[in-house]
């Protein structure tokens, strides 16, 4: 055994894998713990063999950037080791994510709670940006929440560093609903402002409890955005009509944000509108946002430990660091059609033995 293999084996021994939590196209996530301390961790096992071109790009990005960052609002990569042909990332274990919190209808958000979450998001984002890293996939699903309520940016699979002169960047990033208009118009040179737009959408979603700009296709996303915020004029955003994939989707009038966010304070709407400015140059930066009067106004942001959290018992879905494209094992909530040509219902003995009561489907409640 040479020195490298030995070092790897030593690292591997520090962590113990427990049960599987979820599986995605490029990774399987396990619950695990540190052998020495018993501390809970999430182990993300990257499947290597499947890809012709070697390791998946997002795994490389994730390791590359997380290895360098340590901040209380960014998920911590504790270790990386290989087992057989697989690459394993040991990540901090986090209980839940902001999407689950937004979806849990039994929770009531106070204005102070929203302020705390947004402040933590901006703080994490400011840390990424000051280290010249764009996250490029901010959405509630990727904002994980630790047991003590701290919000952490996760999933750096689309992240990259920026500000290198003249390099083209891809515009096919950020989940559609959180994607700024300049990317939808195919802009290849962009900057930190793209992440700020996503935060703006998340901010609005926290207040509305439903996604703010749910476009059904890329074109529809542009329309949805313009319908909500009005079509930009050329003074408002100079030169946007010259962007590579520019299409005209018609004129929509500007409606004041106040019409939709009736209960928000003026400072709150001011910050939101600054996050959703069309011209990326005028959009607020993460640092400036942290100094915005919204955060210093009353009420103070809630203490992280007091922020609402979804009830534990419903968490039959894994809530750890997993990608959106994970298929959970076990019966999921999604409706699955019977294949029409499947003609005999199978009921094996093991099924009968394993589950004492057959599940009864109830349709009367509808």
């Amino acid at each position: 055994m040479d020195a490298v293999e030995k070092a790897n084996a030593d690292r591997q021994k520090r962590w113990a894998k427990d049960q599987k939590i979820g599986e995605g196209t490029y990774a399987v996530v396990y619950r695990g713990r540190e052998v020495a301390t018993g501390r809970k961790v999430a182990i993300k096992k990257i499947k290597v063999g499947q890809f012709k071109d070697g390791l998946d790009m997002s795994a490389i990005r994730e390791v590359k950037y997380l290895r360098e960052m340590k901040h209380q609002n960014v998920i911590e990569l504790l270790d990386v080791f290989s087992s057989k042909t697989n690459l394993n990332l040991v990540l901090e274990f986090l209980d839940t994510d902001l999407e689950a919190v937004i979806k849990d209808r039994s929770l009531v958000f106070l204005p102070a709670d929203i302020k705390a979450w947004i402040a933590m998001t901006f703080r994490g984002l400011e840390f990424c940006h000051r280290n010249w890293i764009l996250h490029r996939d901010l959405k509630p699903n990727n904002l994980l929440i630790s047991a003590n309520g701290q919000l952490k940016l996760a999933d750096f699979g689309l992240a990259r560093d920026f500000a290198d002169p003249g390099y083209k960047m891809t515009c096919q990033v950020i989940t559609r609903w959180y994607r700024p208009v300049e990317l939808l118009f195919g802009c290849r040179y962009y900057s930190t402002a793209v992440d700020i737009w996503s935060v703006g959408c998340i901010f609005a979603e926290l207040m509305l409890r439903i996604p703010y700009l749910p476009g059904e296709s890329d074109l529809d996303q542009i329309k949805t955005t313009f319908r909500a915020l009005g079509t930009p004029t050329d003074e408002e955003w100079p030169g946007y009509t010259k962007l590579p994939d520019y299409v005209s989707v018609g004129q929509f009038p500007k409606t004041p944000l106040r019409d939709l966010f009736t209960a928000a304070t003026p400072e709150c709407l001011n910050l939101l509108s600054k996050c959703l400015i069309y011209d990326p140059k005028k959009r607020i930066s993460a640092k400036d946002a942290l100094y915005h009067p919204y955060f210093s106004a009353m009420p103070y942001p809630s203490h992280p430990s007091k922020l609402p959290k979804p009830a534990k018992k419903e968490s039959n879905r894994p809530l750890e660091e997993v990608d959106g494209n994970v298929e959970f094992d076990g019966p999921g909530p999604a409706v699955r059609a019977n294949p029409p040509n499947k003609l005999k219902r199978k009921l094996s003995d093991s099924e009968l033995g394993g589950r004492p009561i057959a599940r009864k489907l109830d349709f009367t409640a509808m």
Partner: protein, 382 residues
């Protein structure tokens, strides 16, 4: 009860991607996932919890009968027949206005009124939901109605078989006879169970009402408490001013005493509110008293301490970024790209770490490495 919850969530979490799989530039393999928006589809022609019915709609809809599509007729609306075939409204008008007529696809006799809106993309699901709904209405026995788990399982098995037969059109007449027989034999039980379900629904509604009332009550109490607190504070201040006016004692002492009193009052108030909220069983308000919220601190470290270590000029002689500055069309500018950021990054990287003391212990290891002087011969070489 657990069964019931499981079954209704079976339908509630539906995510249907509209417009087929034709989103051209979807960069990720995921579609945005969300549970309850206007795009969420609920059971076959039924209402969702908010009372709306959502209809399935796709950009590539085409009427299988007259082949007209959404391009030719933007108002195209496809309805589903009793035999689960789709056709457009104008075809239905044309074929069935003069009374019952055979289905152009399968020849089954259809009536105009028996067409329903489509809710699921897959008509198989549409049918299954409709069949299951129908079956659940009559086959509503529960585990309590059976002597042991074995017979309950047998019953569920039978229900499932009947459902399966109906869905897949196997032995329809025989199955219908079976259903009719079951209905006749169990009239009493079915009615009793219906009543029980209604009662339960009623109970849930009452519970919800009570909860809402409690919430309102709590909000009211909170408002009242705030009002009282303000009045008290006002009164305290007035008293203090009066005292300062009339009393001959030391002014500072009076102020200090008044402050102390106010503090005592405030603390007694919070403890009483903790008691109230813990009785209500809501942990949140109770916690509020124990962990105080802290004011917002924009940045919690001193990264920007390097700010005075460099000045960024407006222009540099930088051949690499020449292309960016020559950007005549303004494409880079419109996208929010700043050349200045590249310069700032270079400068910051240069100054970061200045004035930070070297790590402890580094010195000793450094001195232990023999420093080769000019002309020396490394000892290992000899």
């Amino acid at each position: 009860m657990a069964n019931r919850v499981g079954a209704s969530s079976w339908l509630r979490g539906t995510i249907v991607r509209k417009g087929g799989g034709s989103s051209i530039a979807n960069s990720r393999t995921t579609t945005p996932q969300i549970q309850s928006t206007s795009t969420t589809i609920f059971g076959g022609g039924v209402k969702d919890p908010s009372g709306r019915t959502s209809e399935y709609y796709s950009a590539d809809d085409q009427c299988p009968v007259c082949k007209s599509d959404r391009f030719l007729n933007p108002k195209l609306r496809l309805l589903v027949s009793a035999c689960y075939h789709k056709m457009c409204e104008s075809c239905i008008d044309r074929l069935f206005t003069l009374g019952p007529a055979p289905c152009p696809i399968c020849n089954k006799t259809l009536r105009k009124l028996a067409f329903t809106p489509q809710t699921f993309e897959d008509l198989g699901v549409e049918k299954e939901v409709a069949v299951r709904r129908r079956i659940a209405k009559d086959f509503n026995k529960r585990q309590e109605d059976f002597p042991d788990i074995r017979s309950y399982n047998d019953y569920l098995e039978e229900v499932e078989e009947v459902t399966f037969n109906l869905i897949n059109d196997i032995d329809i007449p025989e199955t219908e006879a079976r259903i009719a027989k079951y209905k006749q034999e169990n009239i009493e039980v079915i009615r009793a169970n219906h009543e029980r379900e209604e009662q339960y629904a009623q109970y849930l509604k009452e519970l919800e009402d009570a909860e809402r009332q409690e919430r309102e009550q709590r909000a009211l109490e909170l408002k009242r408490a705030e009002e009282e607190e303000r009045e008290e504070r006002e009164k305290g201040r007035q008293e203090l001013i009066d005292k300062l006016e009339t009393s001959t004692k030391d002014a500072a002492k009076l102020v200090a005493r008044a402050k102390l009193e106010a503090q005592r009052r405030a603390s007694s108030r919070t403890t009483s509110s903790v008691f109230v909220s813990s009785v209500k069983g809501r942990g949140r308000a109770a916690q509020a008293a124990t962990v105080p919220d802290v004011p917002h601190v924009p940045l919690q470290d001193d990264w920007y301490a390097y700010e005075d270590k460099f000045t960024l000029r407006t222009n540099y002689d930088d051949p690499i970024s020449e292309a960016v500055r020559r950007d005549r069309e303004g494409i880079m500018r419109a996208g929010g790209y700043f050349v200045e950021q590249a310069w700032e990054r270079a400068l910051r990287s240069a100054v970061a770490g200045l004035e930070i003391a070297p790590l402890e212990g580094l010195h000793t290891t450094a001195s232990s490495i023999p420093v080769l002087q000019h002309g020396d011969v490394p000892t290992s070489a000899t």
